[in-house]
Each structure stands twice: as structure tokens, then as C-alpha cells.
């Protein structure tokens, strides 16, 4: 069978945009109920997606005055979903900086067991001083230290998983997912990541990123095919091009102004107060990404846009639209399928972590219209074949003999 896409839905509360919760016809408070997550997971299972993905941080969303935040602890939500679904994968984000490795290893493995081998753990280091202050610290640990701990922590957790003899799931151990786009993060990805949730605006850059992660695995005694790279993709779908464009415009109109500026200031690590909307951000304010303190991934993405397009501040705010800095595609199911297919066949992605514009409506459109289009093109499964998440992603089960070496997909060797 030809290489197939992997698709996850990132249930980012009300949707990826700052104004998603204000989109006409949307229940603004739905993402503060567990039923929201269960309903989307059931829809994702009906559409045969690989997994649902929950972002998280142990801290209140600083801009909760203007938009919903992640507000339910992921293992609790995923255990609930596990009890009400059969096949959908369950990926939760848990911080390596602010968890005890013994407790995390046990809880995630237990969740994996009770779901029948469907769980992935997204390792994040958690940026920001606000989270640090919930764990006895005044400031976040320095970037490189956070990643040193993440590598050590992930190794310790996987060793604990491998030592487990009882209550072991059918996939052996949970899948390790990792997202960092910084140079520290890329190294961690090559070392321990099995699924990489990346952020990229540009196809060539994404292709180079995927190649770097894959070849980097060899340094750690792993193989390129031990890693599945899934860039984030924000989708704005319409049944016509005009409808999609209009949907995108509405999302700009409902974006709370105060939110967009404060969010970008947070991503860049400096204040935007007093900067006019109709001029570019002064260049001297922008340091090199490796010197940025908070989330280097998003700093890098935003800086790349500035370097490439030199937008005014107002244009930049509209382009990001309060989203996380992930790539936004706007169009009909056919147009977005073209884009997905181009990235996939160019070796820029093994699939996508899909971040619908508005939840649940944007995901309903994705599942009802885009997934069938991908199937027509032979790019996406019609039925689940594998039981566990690990098998579905084509990853090795620790302790199980590896399949004979298969030549990498043509796209990957170009």
C-alpha cells in the first residue's frame, strides 16, 4: 500500500484563533466542559483519524480575559474519552519540568493500559514564569536547562515503562511525542521523539527540518523511520473559495484587539506598547531565536515571517490572528487537500496535527468534507487496520523484533 497520511486533531479548546469562541453559532463556554472533548473525539474516531491531541500547561492562560484556555487536565480527559471510544489514539501534553517522573510514568502507562494501547505522551518543557510560580520557583529555568531536564526526564520515564511487568498495554509503552522547534528541541526530538509536532510556515524549511530530525536519529542509535513528523496546520474551510475567505475575515473581525497584541508580545518576549499598527516592528527589538527566552519555536516562526515579508505590526497581527504561529490554510476541501498532498509528497510532512479554526464546527467540516477528499486521492485510510496507536504510526514496539528494513518512501529520499 502507498504511504498514507497521519492526521491528528488538536482539540485546542474553542479553536486555534483568538476569536474562535466568538465565531457566530459557537457556544462560547463549551470548551470548559468535558463533553466538548468527548464529542470531538468521537467524531475523529468516526473519521478514522490517528489520534486526538490535547495541548496543556499547568498554569492559567494569562489572557483568559479575552479567550478560553486549556482548562481540563489532559490525562483525566483522555481517560474519560478512552472509556467512550474504541480506536482513536489519545495524545496528552504533560510537562517534563513540573511533574515527578515516577508519578507521570505510572499515570501515563496506566492510561495506556486502560485505553488498550492508544496513548501518546507529548513532552513539553513549559515556558514562562507563571507556571514556574505554581511549583515553588520564581522564574522559569533557563532554556537549555529545561531541555537537559527534558532529555533526562524522558529517558527515566521510558526506562520505568520498560521495566514494567504488570498492566502493560498492547503497544508495549506509550508513544513519545515532542514538539520543540528550537535547536535544543530538535536534538531532543532526534534522541527520544517518536512523533514530532512541529511548527513551520514554509515547505522547504519543513522539508529540511524533517530531514534533520530523521538523520539526527542515527546519532542516538535510532532509524529515520522511527520518527513521524506532523507539522501543525490550522484549517479554515469553506465550500467555496469565497466562503472560506469570508470565514477567515470573520475570524479577524471577532479577534479581541487587546488579546492579539498581548499574545504577540508574550511570544516575542517584549512589550508592543506604543508601537503603531501601520509600521513594522523596529528591527533592533528582535534578537536571534536562540537568545529568546520563552517559546523559541514560536519566536522563530514569527521572526521568519518578519524577515521574509517585513509586515507592519497590524498586518502581522492579522496574519497570526491570535493563533499559535502554526501555518494557516484557507480554502475549499480540494484546495486544502492539494496543499496537504504537496507537503506530504515533497517529504515535508508525514501528516499533520490539525488545528481547526473553530471547534467543533471547523472540525466537523474537516471530517465531513476534507477527509473524504483525501480518501479519494488514496492518501488516507478508510478503516482502522491497527489496534494500537504505535502500530498505526508504524513505530516499533519496544522489545518486539523489528520488521525487516524497508526502503524509505520515495519522497523521503529525494
Amino acid at each position: 500500500m502507498s504511504r498514507q497520511l497521519h492526521l491528528n486533531v488538536n482539540i485546542l479548546n474553542a479553536g486555534v484563533f483568538g476569536g474562535s469562541w466568538r465565531f457566530p453559532g459557537t457556544d462560547p463556554l463549551a470548551s470548559y466542559t468535558v463533553e466538548h472533548y468527548i464529542a470531538i473525539a468521537k467524531k475523529a474516531e468516526a473519521a478514522k483519524l490517528d489520534a486526538v491531541f490535547l495541548a496543556d500547561g499547568p498554569v492559567i492562560e494569562p489572557l483568559v480575559r479575552h479567550r478560553p484556555g486549556n482548562n481540563l487536565e489532559p490525562t483525566t480527559v483522555l481517560a474519560r474519552i478512552a472509556g467512550q471510544t474504541e480506536r482513536i489514539g489519545l495524545i496528552g501534553t504533560l510537562s517534563s519540568s513540573y511533574n515527578d517522573p515516577v508519578e507521570l510514568a505510572r499515570r501515563v502507562a496506566d492510561l495506556d493500559y486502560l485505553s488498550g494501547g492508544r496513548v501518546g505522551w507529548n513532552v513539553v518543557t513549559t515556558a514562562g514564569a507563571a507556571a514556574a510560580r505554581n511549583f515553588g520557583r520564581a522564574e522559569e529555568p533557563e532554556h537549555a536547562l529545561r531541555y537537559q531536564r527534558a532529555a533526562r526526564f524522558t529517558r527515566e520515564v521510558t526506562v520505568l515503562w520498560d521495566e514494567r511487568r504488570n498492566l502493560v498495554s498492547a503497544q508495549g509503552r506509550p508513544v513519545v511525542v515532542q514538539a520543540g522547534g528550537s535547536s535544543d528541541g530538535r536534538r531532543l526530538a532526534s534522541q527520544v521523539g517518536e512523533v514530532i509536532f512541529s511548527a513551520d510556515q514554509d515547505l522547504e524549511h519543513a522539508r529540511a527540518f524533517r530531514a534533520e530530525i530523521r538523520s539526527g536519529t542515527r546519532e542516538f542509535g535510532r532509524r529515520p523511520e522511527d520518527v513521524v513528523v506532523l507539522p501543525g496546520l490550522s484549517t479554515v474551510l469553506g465550500s467555496t473559495e469565497e466562503e472560506a475567505r469570508r470565514r477567515r475575515e470573520i475570524l479577524d473581525e471577532v479577534l479581541p484587539d487587546a488579546y492579539a497584541r498581548r499574545r504577540l508580545a508574550g511570544q516575542l518576549g517584549f512589550s508592543l506598547d506604543g508601537l503603531p499598527d501601520d509600521e513594522p516592528i523596529p528591527r533592533e527589538l528582535l534578537v536571534e531565536p536562540d537568545a529568546a527566552g520563552g517559546s523559541q519555536t514560536f519566536y522563530r516562526v514569527v521572526k521568519a515571517i518578519i524577515d521574509r515579508e517585513n509586515p507592519t505590526l497590524g498586518q502581522l497581527l492579522r496574519k497570526l490572528s491570535g493563533g499559535g504561529g502554526h501555518r494557516i490554510v484557507v480554502g475549499t476541501p480540494e484546495q486544502i487537500a492539494d496543499d496537504i498532498q504537496r507537503w506530504f509528497e515533497a517529504g515535508a510532512a508525514d501528516g499533520f496535527n490539525v488545528m481547526p479554526d473553530v471547534l467543533p464546527s471547523g472540525f466537523d467540516d474537516f471530517a465531513d468534507h476534507l477527509v473524504p477528499e483525501l480518501r479519494r486521492r488514496g492518501l488516507f485510510r478508510r478503516e482502522y487496520e491497527e489496534i494500537t496507536l504505535r502500530d498505526r504510526l508504524g513505530l516499533d514496539v519496544p522489545g518486539r523484533p523489528r520488521a525487516p528494513y524497508l526502503a524509505a518512501a520515495p519522497a523521503a529520499s529525494r
Binding site: 459557537t26 480527559v77 511533574n99 515527578d100 515516577v102 511549583f135
Partner: protein, 310 residues
């Protein structure tokens, strides 16, 4: 309080698998059991109680759950979040039996007072942090005002700024208070607890069999100085039925026993297999079933929390 509460202990894992637990929990619901207490235990033997509760709660939405967790390995912010998430996801049907223990790797690295070790002091500080965090984001703060573009009234959401001997925690929590205000907090008198702390902080006190005779008097004595009324704390007697071929009492006898000892109910423990636990539930006979929509707090006969808007 008018009803006698019954809590049934279950340890789900290698001895009692998920399918058994589901069957027992369903029978417990039908028998009118107030709540299932999911016990913690060794990793590899007992599954994490919050995960099991969340899993089963979706399948048996009318039942109530008390999850057990020690202070050990659990940073307070994480445990507070997890249990409040469960409580919100069960429409206010959940509680936490916080057990004494040691610290966790994240908090220990920055412990404010390196000399602080006493488990009962840690328990009290931990319990204060939990209740503070659970009330730090009052549900009415959630507005979702689409027209005005105001999602939450952040003036109502307040950090707790806790600075103690064991922990420093800023808060607030990321999610709003639950349908019952906050999760029910259970103290277990088998732990070395300071009863004055338990009386101040807990909603439920579970006492082991050997303390039953004196428990009510002892609780009354510590409640008065801390300014709480007796009805604000549910006193449950822990009864170990392990090895009994059948329940030694009928429901009526248990109720009489509760009255004579001024208990509000019982926690039933049977370290047995599926058959034995199901037999016990049958032998107990019909119990006064709590209203299906009742929160855990209501089902335990506890008054609404003062000053916690829901």
C-alpha cells in the same frame, strides 16, 4: 443528616480488572451506594485512581467517586488540577482522599524549609493549598460574553500566593469551581493526622474500626475550637469485611449502628474478588439511594459550602 452514607472501597488493577470494576460499580450504583473510593497502591498492581475514575465515570454517570492519592510524588498544583478536572467532568460527583506521605521531586528541589518533614504538618499545608486552589477561579467568573469580547472576569480569579514550610504556590488554578463548589476532601484517620487540622480542613473523616467508639466525641471536641459545626464534617466508620462469606449485618442493622455511634455512614472494605464483593452488595440489601443528580457533597448529607459560588 438523615441518610447513612455507604462508601465502597475498590482497588482496580491486577486483582480486580476494569471489567470487574465496571460490573461492581454498576451493582453498587443499583444498590444505592453513595460513592466508590478508588484506592491507590503500588504501581504495576493498582491503576491510577484518577484515571480509573474518569474512565468509569463516563460509563456510569450517576455514580460518585472518591479518588485516593498521597502527597508523595504529587505536586499540589498538579493534583489539585487533576481532581478538579474530574469533579467538573462528573458534575460535582468527586472527592479526594488525601493520604499523608512525603514530597515530590519537583517541589522538594525548592522546599522552603529544609527541616520540614512531619507528614501531618505536610498534610495540613497540602490540604490548605488544595482547597485554596479549588476556590481560586469561581465559576461565575466564566462569562463567555461574545458581544463584549470578554471571556472571563479576571477580577474574580485570584492567586492564592501560598508561602509555607513545604510548598510555595502562586495559583490560581486554570479551571472554574465545580457544581458542588469544590471536590470533597476526605481525611483518613489511619494516617498520623492532627485531628484539629482534619476537623478544620476536611469534609469527611474516615475512622478505622478500633477508633469507632470514641470517634464522634473526639471529633466534636476538636470541631468546637475551630468554629465548625458537627454537620459540616461527615464521620464514616471503616469496616473491614475481608474474609466474611457474607455481610454480617443488614442495612437496617448498619443504620442502627451508625446512630448509636453518632456516625454518618460507613466505608466498606473487602479485599476480595469480584464474586465476593458482589455477594456483599447483594447481602446488604436495598439502601436508600441518593437522588441521581445529587453531587457527592449533597449525597453525603453535607451542607453547601459557605462563600463558594457555584
Amino acid at each position: 443528616m438523615t441518610t447513612t452514607s455507604i462508601v465502597l472501597d475498590l482497588a482496580v488493577g491486577s486483582r480486580l480488572d476494569l471489567a470487574d470494576a465496571y460490573e461492581i460499580a454498576t451493582a453498587a450504583r443499583d444498590a444505592g451506594v453513595t460513592a466508590i473510593r478508588l484506592l491507590d497502591g503500588a504501581a504495576d498492581e493498582v491503576l491510577d485512581p484518577t484515571a480509573v475514575a474518569a474512565y468509569l465515570a463516563g460509563r456510569i454517570p450517576e455514580l460518585r467517586w472518591i479518588v485516593e492519592a498521597p502527597t508523595t510524588h504529587n505536586a499540589p498544583y498538579n493534583l489539585a488540577r487533576r481532581v478538579l478536572s474530574l469533579d467538573r467532568a462528573t458534575a460535582g460527583r468527586s472527592g479526594l482522599a488525601l493520604r499523608t506521605g512525603g514530597g515530590d521531586e519537583v517541589s522538594d528541589a525548592v522546599i522552603p524549609d529544609r527541616e520540614a518533614t512531619a507528614p501531618e504538618r505536610r498534610w495540613a499545608e497540602y490540604a490548605r493549598v488544595l482547597t485554596g486552589l479549588w476556590e481560586s477561579f469561581p465559576a461565575p467568573a466564566l462569562l463567555g460574553d461574545q458581544a463584549a469580547g470578554v471571556f472571563a472576569d479576571t477580577d474574580l480569579i485570584k492567586p492564592i500566593g501560598h508561602e509555607g514550610s513545604f510548598y510555595r504556590i502562586a495559583g490560581p488554578l486554570d479551571g472554574p469551581s465545580s457544581a458542588q463548589g469544590r471536590p470533597v476532601l476526605v481525611a483518613d484517620a489511619r494516617d498520623e493526622l492532627d485531628w484539629a487540622d482534619a476537623a478544620t480542613l476536611a469534609d469527611v473523616l474516615v475512622v478505622p474500626g478500633e477508633q469507632l467508639q470514641v470517634a464522634a466525641a473526639r471529633l466534636a471536641a476538636v470541631l468546637e475550637p475551630v468554629g465548625r459545626r458537627r454537620e459540616e464534617v461527615a464521620l464514616l466508620g471503616r469496616v473491614d469485611l475481608t474474609g466474611s462469606a457474607f455481610a454480617p449485618w443488614t442495612a437496617d442493622e448498619l443504620a442502627d449502628w451508625a446512630t448509636s455511634h453518632a456516625l454518618d455512614g460507613f466505608e466498606l472494605v473487602i479485599d476480595g474478588n469480584r464474586q465476593e464483593i458482589l455477594a456483599l452488595l447483594r447481602a446488604l440489601g436495598p439502601w436508600t439511594r441518593p437522588a441521581p443528580e445529587a453531587t457527592l457533597r449533597t449525597a453525603l448529607g453535607l451542607p453547601a459550602l459557605v462563600g463558594v459560588p457555584v
